[in-house]
Amino acid sequence: MVSKTRLAALGIAALMAVAPLAGCGSSKEEAKQPEPAKTEEPAATNTDEGNKTGSDDGAKKLTGEFEIQYFVGGYGDKWWKKVIADFQAANPDLKIKESGGPKINDQMKPRWVGGNPPDFVYIDGPNLNDRQMVEDGQLEDLTDWLKDAKNIDGEKISDILAQPPQLFDGKVYDIPLVLNSWGVFWDKALFKEKGWEEPTDWQSFMAVSDKIKAAGVTPFIHTGKYPYYINGAILYPAIVSANNNDISILQDMAASKVEAFQSPAVMAALNKIVELRDKGFIDKASIQINHTDSQMLFLQHKDAFIPNGLWLPNEMAKDIPGGFAFGFIPSLTQDNGGKVVANTSTANVAIAKNAKNKDAAKAFLQFIFSKAQASQWAELSGAPSNIKGDISDSNAPSHVKDAAKYLTDPNTVVVPAITFNADVDKAMQDATDALTISKITPEQWVERVVEAAKKANK
């Protein structure tokens, strides 16, 4: 930043500060203003030689300090503790610092802003968005490195990834560690008891919902407070199905390309939600409740279907009634005979652009993207890892194995996890909510989101 603009800004700020203070009012409102971020100190860019390809399999001795930032949420921290201990044992001369916890994203933010980030980051949880980090220039470009990086067992990492990394302008900045999927859940036991058929596509979903409604149960509940659940599990798979199973439309939407939102596939998908709404299948409570409340109502059999992610059984473990048997399908919006669309969700790992120990960070990537660590992940976190492999004989829970079956089936369209622009994402969430309560039409949905996409492109 040129110092002139900074001076100008300070000047204006000072003027603005003096004016209201002369009026002498209570001005404690700024107390909730965010962390006093120490900025402006020139980014302490580290001139590491950095350009090491994976050809040497960590043969070089790693030294110095190495800091790992990891968010602790639904997947817990058991795996992180284990893998870091293993990595430490393999590299005794490395001083590893763990910065982990449920609030770590907020705690570390001032350091990212100040140009002094940790070396390695696990991107998960609130207030950390990989697309934004890439736009902010916070992440190391891994494109060249990943081309021929091998893991500690000598396998090429890009070959064993179940889902490829998301591309930002054609470049790789982070690698998916988890392979999770959005989808729709129901209780197999309840369906069996009532004689309802488990749905496999849109037609059977509608047919069984009619029956369910006639039996006095509401067919479908979602969390209106967090509309990304219904977007992730219903709307996006529906868009892909309507787009002849071509997933590029979602990637174009993620890149905020306006034409993508105006595609007839989007309209067709929105009309599926309208159909759900107009047939009275959506629980009216949905709009105002959070995910936990919607999940509770689902577990209490007040509603038959719920869009959610594979973490649901883990998350609600304490409240699952006896005899409850989770049925799961990644998508229900495909026509009879169409392919199932699995919209995956993931959590990525990345290296900070301003990392001080990029060698160690890259070696750590080579360490964690191995088969041994992958099966440990599935076991300790209760979610499939993003490494190809058969988990049928691992200790993973049965619904995870079911999902893994879908994800590896050639008849499933697997959508690699995508991150939308935060503004466009919010616009889509608000619009979907508004659509489910008949506040807007599908045309207005498109109008709104196109507006947001145009603005994001500026």
């Binding site: 800004a9 209570s26 001005s27 404690k28 909730k32 736009e135 105002q288 309560i437």
Partner: protein
Amino acid sequence: MRLGTTKWQRGLFIATFILPTFLFFCLFTIYPVVQAMYYSLFDWSGSSDNKTFIGFDNFKEMIHDPIIWNAMGNDYFLVVGKIIGIMILATFFAVALTRFRFKLSNFFRSIFFIPNVISVVVIGVLWNFIYNPQIGFLNAFLSLFTEEKVDITWLGFTSHTIWMLLPPAIWAGIGFYMILLIAAIQGIPESYYEASSLEGAGQWAQFRHITLPLIWEQMKVSILNIMMTTLNGSFVIVMIMTNGGPDNSTQVMGSYLYQMAFTQYHFGYGAAIGVLILIVSLITTVILQRLMRQETIEIS
């Protein structure tokens, strides 16, 4: 050296009280305010180490942002609703608990004060349960009087959902202002009431001509305080109860600030909203003070 010592000592004595406070005030109030103003002039994501100076563009953008206007409308709706609701109820309870002496008045005083001791977060969660369309108290209660089960989504209307945030906000606020007014009423000499009742004044006349003028100063403070805490603090109850939804219909300036600065990565814009809140609160304070300027009647 000895000359003027008492004066000097007096000055020193005063300074020991004022200076540290002033320093802390500057550090924790003035400095963040100036910082927020500074950031409001930038296009900054809040997580990047570079930011672009854009002058007043954030403020210009605000003019065209419909959510800001909606949020401001909601803020003022809550201000007006809370002032009316809290002042009427708090005054009523204060008068009832002091002027109409009855056995359980101390008990009720504590009961009414309880919501003030509870965190707003708990209040939000509590009222969320009351409003829950499926398992909530309100619908269950209403269902007692209807044939069909009532299933109103209290927090999910297409518009005007903000109305539903008013009852919890009022409920949570009454206790404090009630205590404030009770203290004021208790400061009024009993003889005034005795004299007036000898003259034949009823309860209403006593309230209108003795109580009200003599507690006006406290009511003024209460109204200003409700206004300021609402403009700055509605954030919590909105975040807990509706998250600004559905479709931004319950967004207030504070919650929109949070939304913009931390979940949509427009920190500069968020800071600009903060500055807007500051300006708007100051203007409202000045206007309200003008409006309520009335000769203060003191007990002599």
